[in-house]
Structures are given as C-alpha cells and as structure tokens.
Subunit: 229 residues, 2 copies
C-alpha cells in the first residue's frame, strides 16, 4: 500500500468513527505528517484526493476559514469524474441524458407536495420569467431542476442529478447556441416548468414524472441530439 493511501485510510477512519465531523478541521499538514510518520508530500497527496472527492476544503491563512476543513460536496466529486470519463469518450452523452431522465422523472414522482424546496423552485420560476441572457436562464434552469430533485428527499439522487448536469454543462451550452429560435424555446421551457411544478403540488406524481421526461427529452431532441435521448 502506498504511503498516501495510508493517510487516506487514516482520514476515512477518523470520519467513520466520528472523530472528524462536518465542519471539523484536520490537523495541520506538518503535524499530520509527523503524527503518521510520513512525509508532508504524502499527506498533501491524500488531502488533494479528498479535496477532489468533495470531502475537504483547504484554505490558506488564519481564522475560521483557514486550514483543511471537512465539507460535504458529493456533487463535485461525481461531476468531475463523470466529466472526465465523458472526455475519454467512455461514457456517451446519450447515456448521461438517459440517466438524467430516469433520475429526474423518479424524483418528480416522489416529490413531496409540501417540501420547502418547492418554494425555492417557484421563486426560481419567477426569476426566469423576466431574465434576459440565455446564460442566466440556463443557470436558473439548473437550480430549478436541482430544487425539484431535492423535493424528493433522497440525497443520493440529488447528488447524482447535480453531477450529471455538471458533467454535460459545457455540452449543453454548445448545443443551445444551435437552436433556431431561442426565445420561442425559452417560452416553451417556462410553460413546461410551470406545468411540472403544478402537477407536483397537486400530488399528481405520475403526471409530473411524465412531464419531466418529455421536458428533458424534448429539449435535447430539439437541440439535435440523436434519437433515444
């Protein structure tokens, strides 16, 4: 076993045993190196991996925001990994979209009509009504869909959904530019969003699920992604 993996194991054990919790701070790199009898280099490599996994965040300087603290950002880890594997052409964009439809339609069917996340979704919907640029619209769109996923109350599905969206963000931005009439598309998307939100609030999960699936598949189909997506 390589040295940095030993450090990784130590940190994971600390997390599992509860000695390191969310918001807690790891020992300083130099202290940790001495404590585990390894070099600071190995400690740093382990922390780098943890950082890529969205488990810790390293901050320089002093004060409460400094040092290496435990965070919880599973979306970052999954998103980066998926994006890289898309870059290697190992994960087809078609499969990403298909999985996104699967997760989101499930979330819509399971969303609680009185979840607080739905209030945020409604607020985002209003902001989308009067927003100018396509970039701003897309950013709000991402947050809207994430809010819907959160309403289902499954942290794993929410994280996976966010990471899928992140992984193909650059791709989605490119195909959006090729749309024939953005204003018309945006108006349609807004109307569909309202329909989805209304269905969820009415407790009609089955209908909401179908609307979400049509919404996503319709967008990618219009943008020119091949059949099946």
């Amino acid at each position: 076993m390589r040295t940095h993996q030993l450090v990784l194991q130590w940190i994971e054990d600390q997390l599992s045993s509860g000695e390191l919790t969310l918001g807690g701070r790891l020992p300083a790199e130099r202290s940790l190196a001495e404590q585990l009898h390894v070099s600071r280099t190995s400690v740093r490599e382990a922390i780098r991996v943890m950082e890529a996994m969205g488990v810790v965040r390293a901050g320089v300087g002093s004060g409460p925001d400094a040092g290496t603290v435990v965070i919880a950002d599973p979306t970052a880890a999954l998103g980066s990994a998926l994006r890289l594997h898309v870059a290697t052409s190992h994960l087809p964009v078609k499969d990403i979209v298909e999985t996104r439809v699967l997760l989101e339609s499930w979330a819509a069917s399971r969303a609680h009509p009185d979840a607080p996340a739905l209030a945020e979704a409604a607020s985002l919907l209003e902001q989308m009504e009067n927003c100018s640029g396509t970039e701003e619209f897309l950013a709000l769109d991402v947050r809207f869909h994430l809010a819907l996923a959160d309403a289902a109350g499954n942290a794993v599905v929410s994280a996976m959904m966010g990471s899928l969206r992140e992984a193909i963000q650059a791709y989605a931005g490119r195909i959006t530019g090729s749309l024939p009439d953005w204003d018309a598309t945006a108006a349609r998307l807004r109307a569909e969003h309202r329909g989805i939100l209304a269905a969820i609030k009415d407790g009609d999960g089955g209908s909401a699920s179908q609307l979400v699936a049509d919404h996503i598949e319709g967008y990618y189909a219009e943008a020119g992604l091949g059949a099946g997506a």
Copy 2:
C-alpha cells in the same frame, strides 16, 4: 488557480481533443513537469487526483504496464466518493439502497433479452448454486447484479450501480452476519435470481423490474434495515 489544477486542465484538454486516448500513456512525470514549467510535485498531485477518478493508472518499472496510462474505471471514482460521504453521515444508507432499487429496476425493465451479459449472468447463477462460503456467494451476487445492469446497455447506469454497491459493501457484509438463517436466505435469493433472469429472457421487462425491486428491498428488510429501504 493552483498549479496542480493547471496540470489537471492540461490533461483533460488532451483527453477532450483526443490526443490522449484509452490505453495511451502520459508523458513521464519529470518530462511533463518540465514541459508545463511546474514542479514534479504538482504533476504528481494532479496524477493522484486523476488516479482517484479512475482515469489513469500509475505503474512503476518498465515495459507495457509501466508508466501512467489512461484507463476507464468510473466505478472506482464514484464508489470511493460515495463511500466517503457515507462515512461523513452525509449520505444515508437508506438513500443509497433506495437509489439502488431505482437504478436496478430500471435496468431490469430495459435489459435486452439477447444481451451477451445475460449469458454471463446465467453462468454466475450456476456458480452460486454450489458455492460454500457466504463471502463467495456475496461476491458472485455482486457480479450477477452488475451483469444485469450491463444488459440494459447504459454505461452510466452500470457505473453508478457498481459504485453504489461498492459504497455499502462493508455495510452489507456486516448486516449479513446478523441474519438468522443464512442457508435459507441464500436459497431464497437464488430462487429470486432465477425468476428475474427468466423474466428478462421472456422479454417481460415490467415483471422483471418488480421482481428486482422486491428482491433488493426484501433482503435489506430481512437484514434489519428500517422500513422504506
């Protein structure tokens, strides 16, 4: 932007542009450091992250297996990340199981009856008939479920399924020890496996989907995981 992120960006660009492909080899760490005008330490940190993401594999020595080569193991990345976040208690095991049911039941409903992966699943089923230890049984069980997921032909779903299973592998092993009658449970699981495989081969996706959901939920329910999982 930190130095190692610059290296990460460079590697990702090489992957996106196709100059680095599956099976290809990265320049040696020392060469890459000189080429990008950074220290070898920064290059190593970047490679370490890529390794954790399942994108590259580092090997010492000489020959075809040496050096840092591009691989494609998205399961490793997702699995480690999920496992760590489960360790921080940020992702409940209940949500993991729920997501597993979602993905696997979808895969069962979409599996192609003549997919080559089903032949492997059948072979694994035979091996499970006459196997002794519980560990061996569980290992074969993992491979059986992965084969079913592969039969659906969605690489993203397959990867996510494998990573979910990996993330709770230690957990599953613990609860298995608390089962009252392992032999009876194993016999039931085998029978359910046969039923699932038969449904898929008959082209009855809906039935297969329901059988898979019952199969997984039943197991965790028997092992004592709370309701809803």
